[in-house]
C-alpha cells in the first residue's frame, strides 16, 4: 500500500537533492512551486476553509471524486503555497485510507524543518492534520453509504 504516495515522495526528495541544501535556492524553488499552484476559486476562500495554526493564511478545500479525495489550496504567501502544493502533489487524488496511513517522510528527508523554521513547521503540521481529518471524514461518510 501507499506505493504511489511513496513514489511521489521519492521524486520530491530527488528534486530537492539537486538544490544541495542551499537555503536560498530551496526557498526560491518553493516560492516558484507556490506560484505555479492553481489559485483556489473564490467560493472556497472561506473562513471555514482557513487552517488554524498557520502564521500565513491557508485555505484548504477537499472534494470527493468517486472514492478519491481531491485537495485544492491557496495561501497569501508564496512559500506557504509552495509547501501546500507539495502536500497536494503527494496526497491529492488518493483514497482516504491511503491518506490516513501515509507516512510523510519526505518532509524530513528534504530538511524542511530546518529551512522553514519552527513557526512554519507548526503550520505545515496543521495542514497535514487537516488533510488527514478530511480523509477521516470522507472515510466515515463512504462507510456509511456502503
Amino acid at each position: 500500500m501507499n506505493t504511489e504516495i511513496n513514489q511521489v515522495q521519492d521524486q520530491i526528495i530527488e528534486e530537492f537533492a539537486l538544490l544541495a541544501g542551499d537555503r536560498e535556492s530551496t526557498i526560491f524553488y518553493i516560492m516558484e512551486l507556490g506560484q505555479q499552484l492553481a489559485p483556489l476559486a473564490d467560493e472556497f476562500m472561506t473562513d471555514a476553509n482557513l487552517i488554524k495554526g498557520c502564521q500565513s493564511k491557508v485555505w484548504l478545500n477537499a472534494e470527493l471524486e468517486g472514492d478519491r479525495i481531491v485537495f485544492s489550496a491557496d495561501s497569501n504567501t508564496d512559500i506557504t503555497k509552495g509547501l501546500v502544493s507539495l502536500l497536494i502533489r503527494v496526497l491529492s487524488g488518493r483514497k482516504a485510507e491511503e491518506i490516513l496511513s501515509a507516512d510523510l517522510y519526505f518532509i524530513d528527508r528534504i530538511g524542511m524543518g530546518g529551512i522553514i523554521g519552527s513557526q512554519r513547521s507548526n503550520g505545515l503540521t496543521a495542514m497535514i492534520k487537516q488533510m488527514k481529518l478530511y480523509a477521516l471524514a470522507y472515510k466515515t461518510k463512504l462507510a456509511g453509504q456502503a
Binding site: 537555503r23 536560498e24 530551496t26 526557498i27 526560491f28 516560492m31 516558484e32 506560484q35 502564521q55 500565513s56 497569501n76 504567501t77 508564496d78 512559500i79 522553514i116
Partner: protein, 413 residues
C-alpha cells in the same frame, strides 16, 4: 560656510568590533543585522557589566548593610544619574526605572491617567502609534468614560498637524505620541506638539522607544511632561527602561504598584509612601540590567548622538535612493524627516516571503504589521518589510541587502 574643524571620520568598523554577536555567519553568510528597531545588539561592555554584577556585586539594593549591597546600590543609582544627563532632566529623582516603554506608558496611564482623566475628558494619540501607546489609553478611557481622539496621518506617513490642533481643547488632558514611528521612521515635531498641548492645558507623554538611540532628547528644552523608553533598543539589556516625569507631576501622582521599597512606613491603619523615584519602584528591581544599562548609555555618548544620527541618515538615504531603482519596490513612509527605518513592500510578493528570502542570505529584517495595525490599516497594507539601521551598520551591509532585495524582486509576478 568655512568648515575649519575637521571631524574625525565615523569609524563603523571600529564600532562593530565592540559587538560580538555581529561576527557570525547566518545560513553561511555574514550576518547583516537590520532589525534594530525591534532590538539593538549589545556591546561587549554591556555584556561584561552583567557578568561582573552577578560575579562580584550581586546583592539587594537600598537595604542591606554590607559591602556588596553598597556597591550594587551605588551602581544602580549611577545609571539613574547617567540617564538624567542623557535626557537633561533637572533632577535624577525624575528618572524612574521601568521594565521598558510599555511598562512606562502603563504606569503613567494607571497613575497620572486615573488622577487627571475623568468622564467627558479626552486623550489624544496619533494613528501611527505602536500598540503599547494605544491600548493603555483605550483601557483608561473606557474606565474613565473619557474619549480617545486620534490624529490622522498622511499617505507619506506624517501627522496631519492641523487636525491635531483642531482636536486639542480644554477637554484634552493628555497627548501621547511617538517621537519616532517604529513602522515608518517618521520623526514627529514633538516640540511643537508639546507647546500646542500646553497652550490647551494638556500634558504630553512622548514615546521615545525609537528615538533615544538615534536623536538627542532634551526634556527641559522640550518642556516635556513624560518621556518613556526601553534600554534594549539603545544597546542595553532587555527588561529595563525608564520613565522621565516632571517632579511636580510625579509627586502628585498616586503610586503604581504597592510593595516593598515604595513605602516609608506601613501599618494596617495607614501606609505612607516613599519619595520619588522610589514611590514608583515597588519590589526588588531589575538590578543587574539597570547597572549594565549605564554602559549602553556610555557607549552612545562616546560616539555621540549627532554622529550616530548623521551616520544612520547617510545609510538611510543611500538605501532609500538605491531601493527606488529596484523593480516593484514601494517605499512605505516618505516623511520629510525620518530616522533609521526603511519600510517597504514589493508588489506581487508577500512580506513574509521577502523576509524568508533575505534571512536565507543572513539578512535580518522585520516583517509584518510592526505592532501598528491601525497604521497599516490606514495605509491599506497588511504589513511591510522593515530594515532599520544602527550605529554599527555599514554601507557594504546595505549593498548586500540591496542585492538580496533585487534577487527576490525577480520573483514578483
Amino acid at each position: 560656510m568655512n568648515e575649519t574643524v575637521t571631524k574625525t571620520a565615523y569609524q563603523a568598523e571600529e564600532i562593530r568590533k565592540q559587538f560580538p554577536v555581529l561576527h557570525q555567519l547566518v545560513n553561511g553568510k555574514p550576518l547583516v543585522y537590520f532589525d534594530n528597531a525591534a532590538t539593538s545588539q549589545k556591546p561587549q561592555r554591556v555584556i561584561d557589566a552583567l557578568i561582573h554584577y552577578y560575579q562580584t556585586d550581586n546583592a539587594n539594593i537600598h537595604r542591606g548593610a554590607h559591602a556588596l549591597a553598597d556597591r550594587a546600590t551605588a551602581d544602580y543609582e549611577a545609571t539613574r544619574l547617567e540617564l538624567r544627563k542623557f535626557v537633561n532632566a533637572e533632577e535624577s529623582e525624575e528618572i524612574i526605572f521601568t521594565r521598558g516603554t510599555t511598562d512606562g506608558i502603563n504606569l503613567v496611564a494607571s497613575t497620572y491617567g486615573r488622577m487627571a482623566v475623568h468622564e467627558g475628558d479626552e486623550v489624544i494619540i496619533s494613528a501611527m502609534e505602536h500598540h503599547s501607546n494605544i491600548v493603555p489609553w483605550q483601557l483608561l478611557c473606557e474606565e474613565r468614560g473619557a474619549k480617545l481622539r486620534v490624529v490622522p496621518v498622511t499617505d507619506e506617513g506624517e501627522l496631519v498637524y492641523e487636525e491635531y490642533r483642531r482636536l486639542l481643547s480644554s477637554k484634552t488632558k493628555l497627548v501621547a505620541v511617538a517621537h519616532v514611528s517604529n513602522a515608518l521612521g517618521t520623526v514627529n515635531p514633538i516640540k511643537q506638539i508639546i507647546a500646542d498641548a500646553h497652550a490647551a492645558g494638556a500634558k504630553v507623554l512622548v514615546d521615545a522607544a525609537q528615538s533615544c538611540s538615534h536623536l538627542p532628547v532634551d526634556v527641559q528644552d522640550l518642556d516635556l511632561d513624560f518621556l518613556v523608553s526601553s534600554s534594549h533598543k539603545m544597546y542595553g539589556p532587555t527588561g529595563t527602561g525608564f520613565l522621565y516625569g516632571k517632579r511636580a507631576l510625579l509627586e502628585a501622582m498616586p503610586p503604581y504598584q504597592g510593595g516593598g521599597e515604595m513605602i516609608k512606613e506601613v501599618s494596617f491603619e495607614k501606609t505612607t509612601f516613599n519619595d520619588i523615584p522610589y514611590k514608583f519602584e515597588a519590589g526588588t528591581p531589575n538590578i543587574g540590567d539597570v547597572i549594565a544599562y549605564r554602559k549602553a548609555v556610555e557607549f552612545i555618548n562616546e560616539i555621540g548622538r549627532e554622529e550616530i544620527a548623521e551616520h544612520e541618515d547617510g545609510l538611510l538615504r543611500y538605501a532609500t535612493e538605491q531601493m527606488r531603482h529596484i523593480k516593484g519596490v514601494r517605499i512605505v513612509g516618505e516623511a520629510s524627516e525620518k530616522v533609521s527605518v526603511l519600510s517597504f513592500v514589493i508588489d506581487g510578493l508577500h512580506h513574509f516571503d521577502i523576509g524568508m528570502m533575505l534571512d536565507a542570505r543572513g539578512i535580518a529584517v522585520r516583517t509584518g504589521h510592526h505592532c501598528a495595525q491601525p497604521l497599516m490599516h490606514r495605509l491599506g497594507l497588511e504589513g511591510t518589510v522593515r530594515a532599520s539601521f544602527s550605529a554599527y551598520n555599514t554601507k557594504s551591509e546595505i549593498d548586500a541587502f540591496l542585492e538580496g532585495v533585487e534577487r527576490v524582486s525577480n520573483l514578483a509576478r
